[in-house]
């Protein structure tokens, strides 16, 4: 299962990387071959401007994955820092930050992201990244805090202290590797949530907007063409599903191993 997930994800990753170097056609090149079904020259057909759908999916996949990776990286990094400090030291900082955290995590991710995007200013890849990472920090912080708090009183930490290791060293050299058990599944779940949230925001027209291609925006474009070009909707939709499915399998697998 985990292997299947890794294979699916790897293929999509390669497709996105290949797309950033070279696509079969230019993803913005307009041609007279409008709304062609899948064929030898256009593997996934063309859209209403005669643009090659495969090329656009490769570009869009790249955008969506970049947004998701940046989001998860920022969210996990800051979340881990906050979680490590609050979990390791405890005390009033912990209590205050966690109350605040509870408030934010009680709020639906998508709604919050939507609001932050509308405040930051809709329409760019980076405002989506900012909004989503802000929304994701508390989740990571909470998971990591619990992990750090339960590890901090273990014997190996006490003996490390006795041997003269500093707090920072203990936090990041001794404890961090031990948190991987929960951090890895959290990363895959975060990645998937970011993909779906970005797709949703772009679908609504407030996420990534043209000329940049993103899977969500393509889906909203393809919706009006569903009768004349059903392959467009299906290929974009299935790409999103495959991506989330593949990463989900990896997450499931790494949870089962632990």
């Amino acid at each position: 299962m985990k292997k299947a997930g890794i294979i699916i994800t790897a293929i999509l990753f390669l497709l996105a990387i290949a797309g950033s170097i070279r696509t079969p056609y230019s993803h913005t090149a307009v041609s007279y071959d409008r709304l062609q079904g899948p064929s030898g020259s256009h593997l996934l057909g063309t859209d209403n401007f005669g643009r090659d759908i495969l090329s656009r999916i490769m570009k869009g996949l790249g955008t969506t994955m970049t947004v998701a990776l940046l989001t998860v990286a920022t969210g996990a990094l800051l979340g881990t820092l906050i979680g490590a400090v609050t979990g390791y030291y405890g005390g009033w900082v912990d209590r205050v930050l966690m109350r605040f955290n509870d408030a934010v995590t009680a709020f639906p991710t998508f709604l919050l992201a939507l609001l932050i995007v509308s405040l930051v200013g809709p329409g760019s890849k980076y405002s989506v990244v900012i909004a989503l990472s802000l929304v994701f920090i508390p989740g990571f912080a909470r998971v990591m805090r619990t992990e750090y708090a339960s590890l901090a009183c273990r014997n190996f930490v006490i003996s490390a202290r006795l041997m003269g290791a500093g707090h920072l060293r203990i936090m990041f050299c001794y404890l961090l590797p031990n948190t991987m058990r929960v951090l890895l599944p959290a990363l895959t779940i975060g990645f998937n949530n970011a993909v779906l949230a970005e797709a949703g925001l772009s679908f609504l027209g407030i996420g990534v907007s043209p000329p940049e291609a993103s899977l969500g925006y393509m889906l909203s474009e393809s919706q009006s063409l569903i009768v004349s070009a059903p392959w467009y909707v299906l290929s974009v939709g299935l790409t999103i599903i495959l991506l989330v499915f593949g990463v989900g399998l990896i997450g499931e697998g790494s949870r089962a191993d632990a």
Binding site: M1, R99, D102, A103, A106, F107, P108, T109, F110, L111, L114, L115, S118, L119, P122, N192, L196, A199, G200, F203, L204, G205, I206, G216, L219, S222, Q223, I226, V227, P230, V233, G237, I240, I241, L242, L243, V244, F245, G248, L249, E252
Partner: protein, 307 residues
């Protein structure tokens, strides 16, 4: 009583944050309304008409007191009372949320128990694949497919028209599918870990029937975490309805929220955000209440649910 007080306090805080956040970014709405051609006198007149010339705190209190009397201000783009604009839309969204929540509860609990009961090597693999696929399907994609197949193809409903039951049913289904998958998985894994506990072993070793133990004791204990999750789900349905309303052409709050964001119609935006956050806070409280009714050990101390 304490709960109501907490609810009120939370809402007051939320309303203040909402108001302040929009205040910080809204720029000068009068200029966007009048365009660049307007004279300074016209702008000033409109500003005092909308009450924008008063200080921030004063306007906030005016707005909050308006919430209680149902006066949420005037929409910038429609020039109509916001509460008038929102009324029918809120009902549509509420119906959509409740329908989809009912589906989640009614389908996932029996399905979760069934998936615990019937397990085997191949069945487990099939189940987890189906589960992962269902979780991976974004509601807006199913929304597109359903409008295509059932709306355009079979003509069961007309996307974009005022919604009938069939229309809402399919919209609710789109939202429910991934949530059902998550709830089923959660319920199954909770039941599995609960069945391994000592009290279950005791009950079975005393000659009780396995399925009777499951029904009488384990289910009740497993439901606590499921209900917390369902409370969170009830809150998150709001996020899902926003997109699905857009996809399936349902004139609800979510759709209106998106258009108000795109048109920078801040009074409408603020009002919808306030309504949605009230929904979120309320669903957390409801989950707590149900849980403490099931398991009296859980006190309503408010730990972890405050906003």
């Amino acid at each position: 009583m304490k709960i109501i007080l907490r609810l009120l306090l939370t809402m007051l805080l939320v309303s203040f944050l909402t108001f302040a956040a929009f205040e910080a970014v809204s720029g000068d709405p009068v200029r966007t309304m009048l365009g660049t051609e307007a004279t300074e006198e016209q702008a000033q007149a409109l500003r005092s008409e909308l009450g924008l010339d008063r200080p921030f705190i004063q306007r906030y209190f005016h707005w909050v007191s308006g919430v209680f009397t149902g006066n949420l201000g005037i929409s910038y783009s429609y020039r109509q009372s916001v509460s008038l604009l929102l009324g029918s839309k809120a009902l549509v969204s509420l119906a959509l949320c409740m329908l989809s929540f009912a589906m989640i509860v009614l389908i996932s609990i029996p399905l979760g128990l069934a998936s615990y009961k019937y397990s085997g090597r191949i069945l487990d693999v099939v189940r987890s694949i189906v589960n992962q696929v269902c979780m991976a399907v974004p509601p807006f994609f199913t929304g597109i497919l359903f409008s295509w197949i059932f709306g355009i193809g079979l003509k069961l409903f007309i996307p974009g028209s005022s919604p009938g039951f069939v229309h809402l049913f399919f919209a609710a289904l789109c939202i429910a599918i991934p949530r059902i998958a998550m709830t089923v998985r959660l319920l199954r894994s909770t039941v599995v870990s609960e069945m391994n506990k000592a009290y279950v072993r005791t009950a079975i070793s005393r000659g009780n029937d396995r399925s009777a133990v499951l029904r009488k004791h384990v289910l009740k204990n497993s439901l606590v975490s499921v209900i917390s999750f369902l409370g969170q789900t009830l809150a998150e349905l709001v996020g899902a309805t926003i997109v699905v309303e857009q996809v399936m052409g349902i004139p609800g709050l979510g759709r209106f929220l998106v258009s108000s964001i795109l048109h920078r119609d801040y009074p409408v935006n603020q009002a919808i955000v306030l309504i949605l956050s009230f929904w979120v806070v309320l669903s957390g409280v409801i989950a707590d209440l149900v849980n403490s009714a099931i398991d009296p050990r859980i006190k309503l101390s408010g730990e972890g649910r405050q906003l």
